[in-house]
Symmetry: C2
Subunit: 287 residues, 2 copies
């Protein structure tokens, strides 16, 4: 997905390497980024910078709606997104649908700081195919859906296609929100353009793109597609459910390391090249 | 400066490799980033992403003050910062002090899109030591000083020390501004803390940190230290001299590729870990 460049992290020790039913799962101890989880050769997270990704993908959508109660996580088998969702006391029910049980087991063993997310009693784990799971979900079931998938190769390929977004849209309540991992603005503008185009057809509320810095992802950034269904207006850029009340530590004493309200709004400021290349002009959202 | 990791860019062809009086200068054609300039083994710029760095380091300070007229660039021998300063029609005089003539010559030969900055008749080139140049500068000479140095190893070592910042402060008019390249928030928090601490003693106006995404810099980000001298208040976060009037093409038809007003303000939103690690709390600035 990123020809012509490579990012290398020095391996101190390989801790785990197995082939699951879906992919190769690798964990190693690095010199400066802590432990690293790699799926099919692609870095998924490091202990040093996972905070940026997990906090942004969880709080961008959940701080944009009042009192989120029911949340679905697609993928996210490491548990980090669950850990962040748990900070929201309004949440009553969290479904997570991860296809690869080995990712969960590996995270429980090597990344307890992330897998701790599974220990929340509000969490209901479903190991299986997310598209099947979403098809069976009652219409309007969720306030928020968070798609924490790997890149759209291998098991995640279907997760950038229109039927997938349509099932998500149906599973959301009116004015419900989707936050979908959406690649690098520097490397994958065409993929981003495709996703935005599909989501614009599918989500009748608004469609926004946000980005943040994650050093160990290609080009050092990762994007998020934020969409809302028809219904009560969602102002993604100026969150209605600000995080300040969460800025203390969570129940386990873990403070937010990356996210805050300013970072939330700032994430929607897009470079000139992205605005023109993916035609993400103001009239692109239906606000 | 960044142990335990490496970023590799595929070399298609080495175009130039010489030792100057100060450093090793290398230019190569890459597979996906265009031509790349490397000094002492450290990537300085690539054609693909130079826009982010050059536009931010120039427009963050120049859009923060009304009608900048006199500007000094320290380093910046590739000419890219000059190209961006040239967009500001209020500017009457631009001094640039670059220590290594080979960088200028190489840029003229291999990076005409950047070196074009030298062709502006307002530009006055001084090849030599910036600290000497600043010592001889009349007090209060400049509205803005932009320090586009390489990392503080080799010839740029003195450029993070207190005497350097003091000479800059003296060379600025009251309410004048400094924008200084300031490393990666993910990798060099101690260096950033040191620079902020020195600048807080030296600049009696305000001291702010901003950052942006540059894929080919270590950890994919670069920071900027924005300081103002005592005098008319400078609101760096909400620029008084907005760029909208510049958003068309410059005289040569080159549009802004990265910078816009939203990106300007967003650059000052800092992650939670940086706020706590470098104690960049609100009371840190003198606003």
């Amino acid at each position: 997905m990123w020809p012509g460049e490579a990012h290398s992290i020095k391996v101190e020790k390989i801790l785990y390497k197995e082939k699951s039913e879906y992919q190769e799962v690798l964990v190693f101890e690095s010199l400066t980024y802590g432990k690293v989880l790699v799926l099919d050769g692609i870095v998924q997270l490091t202990e040093k910078d996972e905070c940026a990704y997990q906090e942004m993908i969880a709080h961008l959508p959940l701080c944009s709606i009042l009192s989120p109660k029911t949340v679905l996580v697609v993928g996210g088998g490491d548990g980090g997104v669950l850990r962040e969702i748990s900070r929201h006391s309004s949440v009553e029910h969290i479904d997570i649908c991860e296809i690869d049980k080995m990712v969960i087991d590996v995270s429980r063993k090597f990344f307890p700081e992330l897998a701790v997310g599974f220990d929340d009693p509000r969490v209901h784990l479903h190991v299986g195919d997310a598209i099947e799971f979403l098809r069976r979900a009652p219409e309007g079931r969720y306030d928020a859906v968070i798609v924490d998938s790997s890149d759209p190769v291998g098991p995640a390929q279907e997760l950038v296609e229109k039927p997938f977004f349509e099932t998500i849209s149906k599973a959301l309540r009116p004015g419900g929100v989707l936050c979908n991992m959406a690649e690098s603005m520097w490397l994958h503008t065409h993929l981003i353009q495709d996703m935005i185009s599909i989501c614009r057809q599918t989500f009748k509320g608004s469609v926004h793109y946000a980005w943040t810095s994650v050093p160990t992802y290609p080009s050092g950034v990762i994007g998020f597609l934020l969409c809302s269904t028809e219904g009560p207006h969602v102002d993604f850029v100026n969150p209605i459910n600000p995080i300040e009340k969460l800025e203390g530590a969570d129940k386990r004493g873990r403070k937010l390391r990356f996210y805050n309200s300013e970072i939330h709004s700032a994430a929607f400021a897009l470079p000139a090249f992205l605005k023109s290349e993916v035609r993400l002009l103001r009239d692109y959202s239906r606000q």
